[in-house]
């Protein structure tokens, strides 16, 4: 019998992470795309770190950052009574770190690819930066938006190392699909591991295929 809770947890985690990261990254990616600050490469390097760091390194530092002994972990536990380690909340925070580049880079590229004069035309129409981003910039970079949202979602669903280090494997709390598969393999339950893995492969393929089909259609519309 297939237990659905790891998949539900994975999707809940991916959905929340995607929404949170989108809200935080749109203003930041906009700033990165518009700034001429000399510090821009530093921010670009910092936000790209999760791509190159081993999950164990990233997981270790997030573990230190969220522990009750740290300023951030202690603050959340004392003020809000929220325990960040080995909890679903902690997983969301950790996911926001490791999926950050997958949201920020497509958004920044999307903003940078926009016609600069189109944005200026919006300012000259009396519109604020927020109105320009919402009504002009974002609707004109749909492929980048789609890539950012779908890849962030898919990457969060597929993450394993950091999730295991921050959340462990608490059923119905932090035992997401990737962790559940790892445990099945450890317990030599290969049949179950096959089914879970096949579901993950199928879902990931559908997600990626939808991105590519959408982007292909957008390009075609652009050509016409």
């Amino acid at each position: 019998m297939i237990e659905l809770s790891p998949f539900i947890l994975s999707f809940k985690l991916a959905g929340l992470t995607t929404v949170l990261l989108f809200s935080l990254c749109v203003p930041f990616a906009w700033w990165m795309s518009q700034t001429e600050s000399k510090s821009k490469p530093i921010f670009e390097a910092i936000t790209a770190l999760p791509i190159v760091l081993p999950p164990s390194v990233l997981g270790f530092y997030i573990l230190v950052l969220l522990s009750p002994q740290s300023a951030i972990g202690g603050f959340f536990e004392e003020i809000f009574g929220i325990k960040l380690l080995f909890s679903f909340t902690g997983l969301v925070v950790a996911s926001c770190f490791y999926s950050l580049p997958f949201m920020i880079q497509p958004l920044q590229n999307g903003f940078e690819s926009l016609n600069k004069y189109m944005l200026e035309a919006s300012y000259l129409a009396g519109k604020s930066t927020i109105q320009t981003i919402w009504y002009v910039a974002l609707p004109n970079m749909k492929p980048a938006l789609m890539t950012a949202v779908i890849i962030t979602f898919a990457h969060t669903v597929g993450e394993f190392g950091v999730v295991l280090m921050i959340g462990g494997s608490i059923p119905y709390e932090t035992r997401v699909a990737s962790v559940a598969i790892y445990e099945m393999v450890e317990m030599m339950e290969y049949d179950k591991a096959h089914i879970y893995s096949a579901i993950m492969v199928a879902m990931s393929f559908v997600v990626l295929l939808s991105v590519y089909i959408f982007n292909h259609k957008q390009k075609k519309i652009g050509i016409i």
């Binding site: 200026e120 035309a121 009504y135 004109n140 016409i224």
Partner: protein, 224 residues
């Protein structure tokens, strides 16, 4: 009346150059700015629009525009490459500036675009796009209309058509207009006054017949 006293250091292919302009432009005048590439024509328009910073000051009807954001200036701007909002239809491009359906319909009728009002701007020809751009620039009934080589990307037939639309709109609204152009014939046809820039300085400023010498029936050459 518009009084311009601006200075800006420009770095171009010919090295550093000082854009140093002192001008007075009268209400309702149609002024064409000419000059070689890199003489500072477009920069002058962008400074007037608030898209680039400069030293000095700009007064319009006695009110200083220096330091004012593009949103707070009463400017209509027609870009060389149209810079239309590609996620919107023809009429939506106009209504984005101002939710004034009556004015939008009037402008579309004047420029013979009524039948295309619900068409996405991506589906238009270059000439149609530039006419939409012209209508959009008029939507906030600007005190000053700036046009950066609006005719340069168009073929002869389209150019003649757009010239007619520009004349129609100028007659209908009487907007003070500054247009950058390389085209002698269009400049002669449209302008009340012609200003020639060279290396950031005004080297000629006068009524069109003083600046141009008629050659045969339809050709005009600059008198420098």
């Amino acid at each position: 009346m518009i009084k311009i006293e601006i200075q800006k250091s420009l770095h171009g292919s010919k090295g550093t150059m000082l854009l140093d302009i002192e001008l007075e432009i009268f209400k309702g005048e149609f002024v064409v700015i000419m000059g070689e590439s890199g003489s500072g024509k477009t920069t002058l328009l962008r400074i007037l629009a608030g898209l680039e910073k400069s030293e000095g000051n700009i007064w319009i009807e006695g009110k200083s525009w220096q330091g004012l954001s593009p949103q707070k200036r009463s400017i209509g701007f027609v870009f060389q490459d149209y810079a239309l909002f590609e996620n919107m239809s023809v009429k939506e491009n106009l209504l984005y500036v101002q939710k004034n359906h009556t004015l939008a319909d009037e402008l579309l009728a004047l420029t013979e675009l009524t039948s295309l009002s619900s068409r996405n701007v991506k589906m238009l020809s270059g000439g149609q796009k530039q006419r939409v751009s012209l209508c959009r620039a008029m939507m906030n009934k600007p005190q000053l209309l700036l046009m950066d080589e609006p005719l340069s990307a168009l073929d002869t037939k389209m150019k003649i058509k757009l010239q007619e639309e520009i004349i129609k709109l100028h007659k209908a609204f009487g907007t003070t207009t500054l247009m950058v152009s390389h085209d002698n014939e269009s400049s002669y046809l449209l302008a009340d006054r012609i200003i020639i820039l060279d290396q950031g300085k005004v080297i000629k400023d006068g009524v069109k017949d003083d600046v141009f010498e008629k050659v045969r029936a339809v050709r005009y050459t600059l008198v420098l």
